[in-house]
Each structure stands twice: as C-alpha cells, then as structure tokens.
C-alpha cells in the first residue's frame, strides 16, 4: 500500500455474495451500476476470467457511444476475487490511459449481514509521467481544468 497512490474501500453490502458476484459478471447487470445515471453504459466485453477483456462504452443520448474502459482481467477467483488493470487493454496491448493507470482488486467475502466487499486500487504515479511528458501533461491538465472551471462557474452562477 502506498497512501499517496492507492485507495482502499471497505463496505458491507446487505445482499448475498452470489448476488454481488453476479452483478459483476452478468453484462446486463453490470451495465446498470458501472456508470452514474443519466449516462448510459454499454458493455461490449465482460469476459471475467484471467486474461479476459473488460470493455465498456458510455453515451449521454443512447446513440453516440464514447470509449470508457478498455482493460484486462488479471485474476479471477470464483465469488472471491477479481483483479483487472487498464494498463493492458482487452487486446493485451500495453497502454497508459488517462487520467490514471491502475490495477483494481475487488474482494468478496461472507459477512453476517451479507457481503464484505473490499476494493484496493493501485495507481501509477501520474506526476512522474507528467514530468516526463511536460506538454502532454498540460493538455491533459487543461481538460481537467475545464471541468473544474465549469463546476466553479456553476457555483458562481447559483
């Protein structure tokens, strides 16, 4: 664990482990929670096995779909653990996706109230990448700033 780069989430979900697992492995279920409404999620690949692909697309209008996640599963242990990374796309090509490259580990365990659901997301260091590609960093940063600024503008207008 690196507190500057990693995040840990621990949650008890009041539903049986098999049900939580199926929400991760059944494409039509997965599409219903992976992205926040009103964004529409389309699951192109959900091949939950080591080396299998995870490809999702997103749309605001249900017509025009943009790329969202293109990743590979590294570890899959039935109803216990899923590990996937976006540093290898679904065709196993090494990539450095924006805004951050990461490996996510999701653990499922029984809990008296349902399912003990734990997530560890390990991120690559975005600032080291930024120093190496100063200009590219600034392009990426610009889009983040646009978003921040539109939030700020919204606050000011209200």
């Amino acid at each position: 664990m690196n507190p500057d780069l990693d995040l840990v989430l621990d949650r008890v979900i009041r539903a049986p482990r098999a049900l939580v697992w199926s929400a991760w492995t059944d494409p039509s279920s997965f599409a219903q929670w992976w992205l926040p409404a009103p964004t529409i999620c389309r699951v192109d690949r959900l091949d939950v096995r080591p080396g299998g692909g995870l490809v999702t697309r997103m749309s605001e209008d249900g017509v025009d779909f943009q790329p969202h996640v293109d990743a590979s599963f590294l570890v899959v242990e039935d109803q216990e653990r899923i590990v996937f990374t976006n540093t290898i796309d679904s065709e196993w090509r090494p990539v450095a996706p924006a805004p951050v490259h990461m490996t996510a580990e999701i653990k499922f365990a029984d809990h008296p109230d349902g399912t003990d659901y734990r997530i560890v997301v390990r991120h690559g260091d975005p600032s080291s990448r930024a120093r190496h590609h100063e200009l590219g960093f600034f392009d990426g940063w610009g889009s983040v700033t646009e978003q921040l600024a539109s939030v700020a503008e919204g606050l000011v207008l209200r």
């Binding site: 995040l7 949650r11 979900i13 049986p16 929400a23 951050v100 600034f138 600024a149 700020a152 606050l155």
Partner: protein, 123 residues
C-alpha cells in the same frame, strides 16, 4: 484545513474565467512577459492587468519585474491543489459501490417480494 479550503476557493475563482484559463494554458508553455500575453487578448492593457492580478492573488502565477518588463510564470504547486486526482478516483469508486449496493439490494428485495407473492398464491 480552513486555510487550505480558502486557497482552493481562490484557485477556483481564478479559473472561473475564460481569459484567465487561457492565460494559464499559455503559461503552460513557459514564462511570458505581460506585454506579449496581453497582445493575444482583445482587451485594454488595464483590463488584462486585472486578470493578471487575480491570477497572482490566487497564487496560480508569479510575476517578476526586470527593468520595464514584467514576466509571468505558472506555479505548478498551486495547480496541484485543485488537481487532487486521488480524491477524484476515490469519489468515483465510492459512488460506483453505492450504485452496486443499491442495485443488488433492490434486486434482492424484488426476489423476496416475488417469493412472497408465490407463497400467497398457494393455498
């Protein structure tokens, strides 16, 4: 912490203007003199200077005067204040887990309802 929030607020206010955002983007390429920057914007020099002072006040840029030339440079440490990518990723995963939670618990409630109905239908 309050001091931190105040600094973040100032950065947000400074960024909530298209001219100032453009100045930040322009300075991303390297330090530039006020005169050179001002030429790129369709406004009077005093109006442009107001934007420069707002940016300077927020700490996003620093200016130094050498002879008659004032040069602006970006302060990347101040930019890092609003570029808290890890907090953003945490928010994404927390909200995603909230949605998974309500999806599966809703699903379960539906199943129980159906089972209940089936039981009730049987005499």
């Amino acid at each position: 912490m309050a001091q931190y929030s105040a600094a973040v607020d100032e950065v947000f206010v400074a960024l909530a203007d298209p001219t100032r955002r453009e100045v930040i983007r322009r300075l991303g390429r390297g330090p530039t003199s006020v005169g050179e920057l001002a030429r790129e914007f369709p406004m009077t020099l005093p109006s442009f200077m107001k934007h420069v002072r707002t940016l300077e006040g927020s700490g996003l840029i620093r200016t130094t005067k050498r002879g008659r030339v004032r040069t602006c440079a970006l302060d990347r440490d101040r930019l890092a204040l609003v570029e808290d990518w890890l907090a953003e990723q945490r928010r994404i995963w927390e909200e995603r887990t909230d949605r998974l939670d309500s999806f599966v618990t809703g699903h379960q409630a539906q199943q129980q309802e159906q089972q209940q109905e089936q039981k009730e239908e049987k005499p």
